[in-house]
C-alpha cells in the first residue's frame, strides 16, 4: 500500500492532468504533426516538475524512485497525456542513468529533467529486447543504420542510440540536429504516441560510459513504467464503461442489471486487480532490489492482457456508439493495442519470465 505522501503526490499529478489533458486536448494533439502542446509540456516540467520524477536531485530531478515514477505514468495513462514524457524522461533518461558516466549524467540529465531538452531512445527493435543491434551499428567512431520505429523522434533534440559494436551493444548520445540523420514520421496505429523511422548515415555519437548496455535492466525499467501507464489507461476505460452500464437503459432496465454484462464487468475487474497488484510489485522490486527479478515481465504481460481485454469490452458493451469516432473509447483502445506490442507482447514477456525463472531453478534453457 502507498504511504500518505505518495497518495498526495498522486493527487497533484492527477489534478494537473485532469485539467490539462482532457480528451479534447488529446484529440487536438493526436491530429497535430507535433503530437503535443509545448505550453502544457513546459508547465508539466517547470511548475509541476514531473519530467524528473525519478531522476536524482543532483541531476535536476525530484529524487523519487520507481514507485513514484509508476504513479506519474499511471496518471498519464489514465488521461492519455500526449507529450514526450515516456520517450524523454522514461526511455532516454533511464538509458543515460544506467550507462553514462557521472560527468555525462551531469551534462545530459538536467535538460531532460527540466524539459528544455527532449530526448528519445533509438532502438532498432521496440518489441524484442533480444534482437537489438541488428540494424544499428557503430564502428567505434561513427553510427550507421536504421531504426524503424522511434517514439517522438520528430521532436527530439537528442537521441540515445543503442547500436551493436563488435560482439556487444553500446549506447551513444547523438545530437539529433546534425547532418546524416533522417527522421521520417510514420502513421501510427495509436496517434497519441508518434512514431518515426530514423536513419543514421555516418553520424557522430558520444559513447555513454564504457560498459556494455545492460538491456535486461533497461527493459525491466521501461516495461514497469509502461505497465503503470497501461494500468492507468485500463482504469479510466473500466470506470467509464461501468458508468455507461449504469446509465444506458434497454428493455426497460439499466443494462448493468443484466447478469450477462455485470458478470463480464466482474471478470474484468478481477483481471485488472491482479495486473495492478503485480505492476505495483514490479516497481517495488526495482526500488528495493528484492523479490522475483522477473516481476516486470509478469507486469507487462498482465497489464497488456488486462488493458486490451477492457478495451475490447469497452467498445462491445457500448454497442454501436462505441465504434464511432465521436465516442472517446477508441482513443484508449488504440493506446491499449499499441502498448500491448510496444516493448514486447504478453506472450514475449511470458516466455522471458519462464527463461528467467527456469534459469534460477536450474532448468532447461530454450
Amino acid at each position: 500500500m502507498l504511504s500518505e505522501d505518495t497518495e498526495q503526490f498522486r493527487e497533484v499529478v492527477a489534478r494537473f492532468l485532469a485539467d490539462k489533458s482532457p480528451t479534447q486536448a488529446v484529440r487536438k494533439c493526436m491530429a497535430s504533426a507535433e503530437g503535443y502542446e509545448p505550453d502544457v509540456w513546459r508547465q508539466l516540467c517547470g511548475e509541476v516538475g514531473l519530467a524528473g520524477t525519478h531522476l536524482p536531485e543532483r541531476f535536476g530531478g525530484f529524487g523519487f524512485g520507481p514507485v513514484e515514477l509508476g504513479i506519474t505514468c499511471q496518471e498519464m495513462g489514465r488521461s492519455l497525456y500526449c507529450g514526450p514524457f515516456f520517450s524523454s524522461s522514461v526511455m532516454a533518461a533511464h538509458a543515460i542513468l544506467n550507462q553514462a558516466s557521472n560527468e555525462q549524467k551531469e551534462r545530459l540529465l538536467p535538460g531532460i529533467a527540466d524539459g528544455s531538452v527532449i530526448a528519445t531512445l533509438v532502438l532498432d527493435n521496440v518489441a524484442d529486447a533480444d534482437r537489438l543491434g541488428r540494424s544499428l551499428f557503430s564502428d567505434g567512431a561513427r553510427l550507421d543504420g536504421t531504426a524503424n520505429m522511434v517514439v517522438d523522434a520528430h521532436i527530439a533534440q537528442g537521441f540515445v542510440v543503442i547500436a551493436s559494436e563488435g560482439d556487444g551493444l553500446a549506447a551513444f548520445w547523438v545530437d539529433a540536429m546534425q547532418s546524416g540523420i533522417d527522421v521520417e514520421p510514420l502513421e501510427a496505429l495509436d496517434p497519441t504516441r508518434k512514431l518515426s523511422r530514423v536513419s543514421l548515415s555516418s553520424v557522430e555519437g558520444e559513447r555513454l560510459g564504457d560498459g556494455p548496455v545492460d538491456v535486461t535492466r533497461l527493459w525491466d525499467q521501461l516495461c514497469t513504467a509502461l505497465a503503470h501507464e497501461m494500468i492507468g489507461g485500463a482504469e479510466a476505460l473500466f470506470d467509464s464503461t461501468i458508468a455507461y452500464l449504469k446509465m444506458r437503459v434497454q428493455f426497460g432496465r439499466p443494462i448493468g442489471s443484466f447478469q450477462a454484462l455485470k458478470h463480464r464487468a466482474a471478470d474484468l475487474l478481477m483481471e485488472l486487480e491482479l495486473a495492478r497488484a503485480v505492476t505495483h510489485e514490479a516497481a517495488r522490486v526495482l526500488a528495493s532490489g528484492e523479490g522475483d527479478p522477473w516481476t516486470p515481465n509478469m507486469a507487462k504481460a498482465m497489464a497488456g492482457d488486462a488493458y486490451f481485454a477492457i478495451a475490447k469490452q469497452a467498445i462491445q458493451l457500448r454497442g454501436g456508439i462505441g465504434f464511432t469516432w465521436e465516442e472517446d473509447v477508441h482513443l484508449w483502445f488504440k493506446r491499449a493495442k499499441a502498448s500491448e506490442v510496444l516493448l514486447g507482447t504478453p506472450g514475449w514477456h511470458r516466455e522471458k519470465m519462464m527463461m528467467r525463472m527456469t534459469k534460477n531453478s536450474g532448468g532447461v534453457d530454450v
Binding site: 500500500m1 461501468i242 452500464l245 449504469k246 432496465r253 439499466p254 448493468g256 442489471s257 443484466f258 447478469q259 455485470k262 458478470h263 464487468a265 466482474a266 471478470d267 475487474l269 478481477m270 486487480e273 491482479l274 495486473a275 495492478r276 497488484a277 503485480v278 505495483h280 510489485e281 522475483d292 516481476t295 509478469m298 504481460a301 498482465m302 506472450g347 511470458r350 516466455e351 519470465m353 519462464m354 525463472m357 527456469t358 531453478s361 532448468g363 532447461v364 530454450v366
Partner: protein, 421 residues
Amino acid sequence: MSDESSSIETIRAEVSAWLDENWSPVRPLKEWRETLVEGGWAAPTWPRAYYGRGFNETQAAAVQQVFAEKGAVGVAQAGPGRLASHTILTHGTDAQKRRYLRPILTGEEAWCQLFSEPGSGSDLAGLTTKAEKVGDRWIINGQKVWNTSAHHADFGILLARTNWDVPKHQGISYFLIDMRQAGVEVRPLKQMNGHASFNEVFMSDAEVLAEDLLGAEGEGWSIAATTLSLERQAFGSDRSGGAAKDLEGPIYDEYRAELAIALEPYTWYPQRAGRADLLLKRAEGNGAISDPLVRQEIARALCLKKGADLAAAAAVAKRRSGKHRVIPEGSIGKLAASEIARQAAHAHTLISGADALLAGANSELDGIVAEVLLSVPAISIAGGTDEIQKNIISERVLGLPKEPRFDTGPFRDVPRNIKDA
C-alpha cells in the same frame, strides 16, 4: 490476571508458566482438554464467562505461539464445530452456551452444518426443510446436502422453515439438532473425483426440543450470516493440523487420530486449487519445459497466482488501515482462485501429454495430477459459486443494479424447482 490490556510479554509469560505447570504429553487427551478449559486457555478470544479471556486476535496469536513452542495440544478444531461454537457463543442463551460450548472445545461432541438443500444451492434462503411446533418440541422434515463430517456428528446446526406466509428470509429459524436419533439418516455422498467428503442428511419427523431453537423464531437467516461469514474466513485456510501433529508422545497419537477424522474430508483440497506449485517442477522433470506452448500456459498460471497473492496481501493491508470492507475483496480473491485452478489444471494437462489419460496409482505423482484434473471443478462452486461472487463484485464493488426479483412475496407463492421436465 491478564485481560484485554495485557501486553504480549505478560501474556506469553503467563501462558508459559501455566503450561509448565499443567501440560504434559503423557496425559490423556480428554483429561488435558478439561484442564485447558478450566484454566481458561481453551479459547482466548472468548469471554471469561465461557472458557476464554476476552483477548483480541493479536493477544490470542501470542497464546497460540507459546502453545506451538511447547508442543502443547489445543482444543478440538474440526471446522463445523468451530462454526457451531462461534454462532452459539454469539446468539445462544446462557443455558445453550453452558450445555454446548464446553464439549465442542474438549472434542467430546462433534458437529455438522445442515444448511444447503438439493433444491436450494446458491439460493440458500429458498430452503424448504420444514419445522413445525408440536407441544414442547419441533418436528423436522426435509433433506440437507453437502454436510461435511455429518457421519461423525453428534449435533447439527440446522436451518429450517417455520413460516411459509412471510417473505423467504423471514420464515427461517435456526436449530441445534441431535443427530443421534431415529428420524435422522446420514448417507455419504460420493463425488466425481471418487472421494466422499460430504453427506446427505434425511430428516423424517426428527425432533428438536423447544429450548434448542437458537435465537428467536424467524431470526434464522440473520443468525446464519454469523455462521456463513466464519465459513468464508475459513475458505482456503490451513488444514494441516499445526505443529503438534509431528511430535511424539501418547497424547499426540490421540490427537493425530482425532485430526485424521476431522481432516479426512479435505485431503483433496490442495488439488482442488490446481497445484500451481507443482507446474515448474513437473515440466522440468519430464522435459515438457522445452515446449514453448507449455511454457506459455505455465507462465499464465504463475502470473495469476502471483497477482492473486499480491492482491490478497494488499487487501489485508487496506483492511488493517480500516478504510475498506472485507467481503467484496474476498469475492475477487475467490474468483481468482477459480481462475488459477482452471489454468493450472490446463497447464498440468499439457505437461502430462498422453499420461493425462491415466489416474490413480499408475499415474503421475501417485494420482495427484489426475486428482487435480478431477477436483478443480469444485473450487468454482464450493463456498459460493463464481456466479454468486460475480454478483457480489458487480453489485457491491461496482454498484451495478440488481436483477429484478420474483421471490419477494410470501414464500408459499414463490416459484420453485420444476419437478417434471
